[in-house]
Amino acid sequence: MAGILVFIEQRDGSIRKGSLQALSEAKRQAAAKGWPVAAVLPGSGISGEAAGLGAYGASKVYVADDANLALYSGEGYAEVVAKAAGQFEPDAIFFSATAMGRDLAPRVAARLGVGALADVTGLDLDGDQFVARRPVYSGKAFAVVDTAGKKPQVISLRPNVFALEQGEGTAEVVNLDGLSLSIRALVKEFVEKGGGEIDVAEAEIIVSGGRGMKGPENFAMLKELADLLGAAVGASRAAVDAGWIDHSHQVGQTGKVVSPTLYIAVGISGAIQHLAGMGSSKVIVAINKDPDAPIFKVADYGIVGDLFEVVPALIEEVKKIKAA
């Protein structure tokens, strides 16, 4: 039976948005072919969340509710997805290309003896085969790729690229029994960092600072702007290597590659590695005192000026907009 199986990621029982985007895309792709769409949900105490996935396009949800699955493990979760795949026999398995999805998808693929397409930003059907578009060289180029005829096609979809669509419906819930969980690498705990602030990899808006910020204390200004916009704070490699901000904020070729709706680059000149990591953002704003900075070449909007004057003024303007 042809169909698409979608891995659903949860943390503390709360389903991650990227998975719902992947499920929505599966529904859109399957609709044209009349294919069924199912979801697979591993976790602990998560059965109550399963039926509701019907609203996003799953007609069936395979649930593995087990205390050993409360926290992520590549081996345990791969076992669950492989088991669901064995029952549903999909032609494709979708993941959201989050830290978990990108860790898990290749392990599942290898278990099934197939390859995988990582972090795709576009998806088309050629006959019954998915053809994906994915950034390579950190976004300096795009590759149009397929799995050379191998099925199921294991594909991870970049978060915030595919639209989330909520409709109506309730999914049939199927409990996966008889799992033989062999978990060696076990997550003992999740330690939140940054006080629950938004991660650049998940953010729809990013306010990023670079060398022009001159010191760690000035990132407070970016944090204030980010908080007003519901944004994450990002940074260039220069700012991270100077020790001004943790590397988890780094955007660029050796940091995170992002595609937010709005990217505001403050005091970032735009090294090629940085441009590669944020060049696919929908709208790019540059604030820099050097009119010849490469960042202006990719910016939709730019201000040439002193960021220490412009950013506080911009904060006031955004406050006015948010108050209106």
Partner: protein, 263 residues
């Protein structure tokens, strides 16, 4: 503590990428090749482990002839042995094919841990370590920013959205390093001289019991139909904000709200 480090040889991150004549590969003219930056963290972690606990670091690379320079670089930094599985041009980007080759190259060697970079810069798949772990029937941890190894076991911190996962695992295992794990050392002059005397073991794919033509053909799991450059961007609107930053900020906010509709 014997460590295997899987290394891949990639275009310098500062490279300007152009599309080659076949429309499926990059134009390699003028490209400078380097050890993939994430593999440097893996190598550094391995060197620190054997410095503390004894043992050897063996670097394994599946790549074309030029990749020997990358292996020499790793030897110069302190790796004890280098294994060069020659090939990989036809399987570029096919994580599963690469994992099969590496698994075959590694499986009969003595090791406690296999360290990789979290991704090969360029193809950007981030898949080989997990596939290698599955093929070797080992546990894996990726995105590792902290690693503490004890007798037969280790604890790692793995970076995820909004925090870290603390992972415990027995050894042997596959560990994929990311930025933050350590500060890679540079090769010393002494190291560079010593590396010249260290042999690089050359291995043919066929000697591993694999057929590279089949890996790139009937058994391939990744096929590139086309490689394209991102669409060129139209020039943006630039506002002069040197004389009146407040007015410039107001104009920017207006454009973002009314024209781009993003705030």
């Amino acid at each position: 503590m014997n460590c295997i480090v899987c290394m891949t040889h990639v275009p310098d991150t500062a490279s300007i990428i152009k599309i080659g004549p076949d429309g499926k590969h990059i134009d390699e003219s003028g490209i400078k090749w380097i050890v993939s930056p994430y593999d440097e963290y893996a190598l550094e972690a391995a060197l620190q482990l054997v410095e503390a606990q004894g043992g050897e670091v063996t670097v394994v690379c599946y790549g074309p002839a030029r990749a020997e320079a990358g292996l020499r670089e790793c030897l110069a930094r302190g790796a004890h042995k280098a294994v060069h599985v020659v090939g990989g041009e036809e399987t570029l980007g096919d994580s599963m094919a690469i994992a099969k080759v590496l698994a075959a190259a590694v499986k009969d060697r003595e090791y406690d841990v296999v360290l990789c970079g979290v991704k090969g810069v360029g193809t950007d798949n981030s898949q080989v370590p997990q596939m290698l772990a599955e093929l070797l029937d080992l546990p894996h941890v990726t995105n590792v920013t902290k690693l503490d190894v004890a007798e037969g076991t280790f604890t790692a911190e793995r970076e995820v959205e909004g925090g870290v996962e603390v992972v415990e695992s027995p050894l042997p295992a596959v560990v994929a390093a990311t930025k933050g794990l350590n500060e890679p050392r540079y090769a010393s002059l002494k190291g560079i001289m010593a590396a010249k005397r260290k042999p690089v073991e050359k291995v043919e794919v066929s000697a591993l019991g694999l057929d590279e033509a089949a890996l790139a053909g009937a058994e391939a799991t990744y096929s590139v139909r086309a490689l394209e450059l991102p669409p060129a961007k139209e020039a943006g609107k630039v506002i002069q904000g040197e004389d009146d930053p407040k007015a410039a900020a107001a104009e920017l906010a207006r454009l973002l709200r009314d024209e781009a509709k993003v705030i």
